[in-house]
């Protein structure tokens, strides 16, 4: 039954992908990309990868779609007709497809316990997590503690991407700094004239933030963690910006604070690692953070997940505001 669902979802994804390639209308393509991500999330969930599914749904289907729409507001609505050589492109695609299909013959069967991926370090993680870290969600244990270096790298990738986008988009024209009072009244007022979305949106924002905090701090026990929570909290603020206008959102959470969040989140993660070194352990070894190694692990995971969440929120909101500010000029 699960396999049937999986095949159904994958077929829908192929159809969606073909539709994305086929359509010339970029708005349609963006919405289809969102649908593609949602199908992907459902597929991950079928494969029991709830953490990845949550990330895909929050970031792929949610935030990315908003950012794409923000980008679309700056460009045209239709794709320009391609003038390049289609035959060559089709040949390349066909060859790559054949190679990929050929490569799948060597893949282990779905759910095969003898597959290499289940023979390497996974059994060790599953065995050791209860005694070394003692949290129910092994994914969080692997992500935050066993492979803390990788996650640190991911946070720095997010951090670097945020800085890059701020550099590309952040260069504001000089005249803006001259008369902020006049400029504040001008930007589009969000959905101020739509009464019903405003009322419902304002009603929902606190609950979205609460859910974000739940996902953040429940990551030790169930699917969730800093990446997903950061996306959800950012979504709440983006909703606020859509409802009340971007200027009001920037007044609530100024760009300076967002930049601080980006740097502060990454810094918090690194600082936890350095604190471990100062207390006599290795970099990112949380066991020395408290008298009891397991408590130390819990504190370390809590802190670095908070760092991830803060950095992701800051980056996503900065990117959103960068796009939105660009559209105004």
């Amino acid at each position: 039954m699960i396999v049937l669902f999986g095949v159904f979802l994958l077929t829908l994804m192929v159809i969606t992908a073909l539709a994305i390639v086929h359509t010339r209308h970029l708005f349609v393509a963006v919405i289809l990309t969102g649908i593609f991500s949602l199908l992907m999330a459902a597929n991950f969930f079928l494969l029991d990868a709830a953490d990845v599914a949550l990330t895909e749904a929050a970031i792929g289907a949610g935030i990315s779609t908003v950012l794409f729409l923000g980008a679309l507001a700056l460009t045209g609505e239709y794709e320009r007709a391609s003038t390049s050589n289609r035959l060559l492109a089709m040949c390349v695609v066909a060859v790559v497809t054949l190679i990929v299909i050929y490569a799948t013959f060597d893949k282990p069967r779905f759910g095969d316990p003898l597959a290499p991926v289940h023979q390497h370090v996974s059994p060790w993680y599953l065995e050791r997590t209860p005694e070394v870290i003692d949290i129910p969600n092994v994914v969080t244990a692997v992500l935050a503690s066993f492979r803390g270096y990788d996650t640190l790298g991911e946070v720095f990738v997010v951090f670097t991407a945020g800085i890059g986008i701020l550099f590309l988009f952040g260069a504001r024209p000089r005249r803006r700094s001259g008369s902020p009072g006049i400029k504040m009244a001008e930007p589009d007022q969000g959905l101020r004239h739509y009464l019903i979305p405003r009322v419902v949106g304002r009603l929902l924002i606190p609950f979205i933030l609460l859910f974000g905090l739940y996902v953040q701090f429940h990551g030790d026990y169930g699917p969730g963690g800093g990446f997903q929570a950061g996306a959800i909290v950012a979504a709440a603020f983006i909703l606020y910006a859509l409802l009340e206008g971007e200027a009001q959102a920037l007044r609530v959470m100024p760009q300076r604070l967002l930049t601080g969040l980006i740097a502060g989140g990454a810094l918090l993660y690194g600082a936890v690692g350095v604190a471990g070194m100062l207390l006599g352990g290795n970099f990112l070894d949380y066991s020395v953070l408290a008298a009891d190694p397991i408590t130390g692990q819990h504190i370390g995971i809590l802190l670095i997940e908070a760092g991830v969440g803060i950095a992701v929120t800051g980056v996503l909101l900065s990117v959103f505001h960068a796009f939105a500010a660009r559209g105004r000029h």
Binding site: L191, Y194, I196, P197, V200, G201, L204
Partner: protein, 109 residues
């Protein structure tokens, strides 16, 4: 009792599925945007209510049922709002309720 719950949940899921199906057919067959929104909102409201209540009966008195109730509440707040926002945005963009999709596509394309 278990059998009774199963039958009730089966009936709710089937009727909910039918509503979703009718909504899907409506979105494809209706002549213009506003009537299509009307068809789609059938999926959001009747379909969602019946299916989630059906699943709740399967979940029994557990944390899962409370989570499902929260999802239902969220859907009942957001789906009609989304429909409303979509319709009013279309109206502001100048799409008149009388237009058919074909004539609109001729105008823009």
């Amino acid at each position: 009792m278990v059998l009774l719950l199963d039958i009730a949940s089966w009936a709710l899921l089937s009727i909910g599925g039918t509503f979703v199906f009718i909504g899907g057919v409506g979105v494809l067959r209706m002549p213009n945007l506003y009537t299509r929104i009307h068809a789609a909102s059938l999926t959001d409201t009747m379909g969602a209510i019946l299916i989630i209540v059906g699943v709740m009966l399967q979940a029994g008195a557990s944390l899962a049922a409370i989570k499902l109730a929260a999802i239902l509440l969220f859907l009942l707040l957001t789906s009609p709002t989304a429909s409303n926002a979509l319709a009013s945005a279309a109206l502001l963009a100048g799409l008149r309720p009388g237009d058919t999709v074909a004539s609109h596509e001729e105008q823009s394309g």
